[in-house]
Amino acid sequence: MSEIALLTAKGLSVRLAGRVVLQDVSLALSPGHLVALVGPNGAGKTTLLRALAGLIPSEGDIEVGGHALASLPLRERAKRFGYLPQGHVVHWPLPARDIVALGRYPHGATDPARLSPRDAEAVLRAMQAVDVMEFSDRRVTELSGGERSRVALARALAVEAPVILADEPTASLDPRHQIDVMKNLRATADKGVLVVVVTHDLGLAARFADHMLVLREGRLVSQGAPADALSEQVMADVFRIRAYRAEFQREAVIVPWADV
């Protein structure tokens, strides 16, 4: 990435309960990219995402849109990040539209029943983008896993933030819905948003992402275009696998295949 960076981190370290989970991570990400954050279990992917959103304390400098994250009040931070956590938990059986409307919370729309026209339009746009209009009045607890994950994605999109941070948005979805979610995120990135996605699916990452961050034991060990970042060497060192590589319909195909 050579354009002007939207989200940068310098010397980012995170300690959780005395253990170093993230060490000296530096990166600079630009708008309009879909960035895949990959690495084995326990490499610190979720921690990095949380630290970037300012949800956990970290050492080092994070800047978003030229502002130091630490100097931004909570509300201002919230406007800059659409954060989509793992699992899409909703604790009460609320209607899907009310959940999506919570995406406008950082903009002062705290009551889904009283949205300003501007907020209502943002909610509508987000719901249309991921095709959940038909569930609008249904309770999220009654939706299937795939439907619920789309509602959760719509909620993150409704923030209309310059950065979207999504933690395993494709986990526990069937292949069709995995591809749908990635296509939605790709389309969001193509509109000029910086999208960072944590995923274990190297195949999906290679196909949809245009930039790759590879974490291993809390350190950023490789980054760049998918084919370069996921070189034979990286696959062997970080994931301890070899992969089948090919091209299908002019897109990169990576299929994890054998032990090293």
């Binding site: 909570l74 406007k79 604790h91 009460w92 609320l94 950082p106 705290t110 029943a113 909620r155």
Partner: protein, 340 residues
């Protein structure tokens, strides 16, 4: 159901509740050894009717009724707020030992002879003790406590508060004092004056304002603490507001009436089928339901024929505990460790 339907239903239910509370207030003012019709009550309230009726309504029954109204409301509001904060339908001040701890604080002050039952030292001690209990409970619970941890910690805290209260009574040298404390612990609205109203109201109102101010944050919290934080909710501040609001409300209430249990647990449950599950919207209806429940219970203890007075706190617990058992049955999948 569309949004408009839901909104209409919510407003209708809230208005009906408010009307019910108003009706119960009139009945509460009219019932007692001297029965007065709602019309006579209204007359006496606004300075008409006989002098006797005026004294009965304005000086004897009005404070009692106001206390039932406010205490029922703050208990319902506290229950709904704790359920919102913990995203858990089995949360309530009673189950977390808050009233029991507040009672301990108040009993300690009485037993030490530091204050009589009309001093501000009493609510202050009750509030501090209630704050301590909710604070400890939420600290143990951490960010994502399951039902089991919450209920067990609540059980431990209320047992401890009960034991501490028993110790104070055990060590008290004056048998009359012990009797006074025992009756006070049962929870009653009888013979309360405007002094009691002045004692409790400032704290109850402050607590209610603190809890109500957080209604939108409860809604964001439906998505879990991490997501709520990412939406700009200061979760640490929210917790502190809820702990303080509950402590002020419950402490202020307990200081003048003793422990009145289970209203906070029951009220939000009665409202969910009517109002929906949005924790921000449940606050006002739960407060109204709390008022209605306590007013009704306080009317009932005056109607039920018995050789000695039934205390209203006893009645709410007798009704509340079976309801709690019913809730446990309904939530047993979650309690059993499975996924709800």
């Amino acid at each position: 159901m569309t949004n408009e339907d839901a909104a209409r239903r919510r407003i209708g239910a809230t208005a009906a509740l408010a009307a019910l509370v108003a009706l119960l207030v009139l009945i509460s003012l009219g019932i007692g050894p001297v029965r007065l019709s709602p019309l006579a009550v209204a007359e006496a309230l606004f300075g008409g009717g006989s002098d006797v009726a005026q004294v009965i309504v304005r000086e004897i029954r009005l404070p009692r009724t106001l206390l039932a109204l406010a205490i029922g409301a703050i208990l319902g509001l506290s229950g709904a707020s704790l359920q919102g904060l913990l995203r858990n339908p089995l949360a309530s001040p009673d189950l977390f030992g808050a009233p029991q701890s507040a009672a301990f604080g108040a009993v300690l002050i009485i037993a030490l002879g530091l204050a009589d039952v009309r001093s501000y030292a009493l609510p202050v001690a009750a509030i501090i003790a209630a704050f301590g209990s909710v604070f400890v409970l939420l600290s143990i619970a951490g960010r994502n406590a399951g039902l089991l941890i919450l209920i067990l910690s609540g059980l431990a805290i209320s047992s401890f508060a009960g034991a501490a209260t028993a110790l104070v009574m055990n060590l008290a040298t004056n048998p009359f004092l012990v009797l006074e404390i025992t009756f006070w612990l049962l929870g009653s609205l009888e013979d309360r004056s405007f002094q009691h109203v002045m004692l409790a109201f400032p704290f109850i109102i402050a607590g209610a304002i603190m809890l109500f101010s957080q209604r939108h944050a409860f809604r964001a919290l439906s998505l879990g603490e991490e997501t709520a934080q990412s939406l700009g909710v200061d979760v640490g501040r929210l917790r502190l507001f809820v702990i303080s609001g509950v402590a002020l409300g419950v402490g202020g209430a307990v200081a003048v009436t003793g422990t009145i249990g289970f209203i906070g647990l029951v009220a939000p449950h009665l409202m969910r089928p009517l109002i929906g599950h949005d924790p921000g919207r449940l606050l006002v209806p739960s407060a109204l339901t709390g008022s209605a429940l306590l007013l009704a219970a306080d009317i009932a203890v005056r109607i039920i024929p018995s050789t000695s007075d039934i205390k209203v706190g006893v009645l709410t617990s007798i009704i509340g505990v079976p309801f709690f058992l019913y809730l446990i049955m309904r939530e047993r999948r979650a309690l059993g460790g499975g996924v709800a």
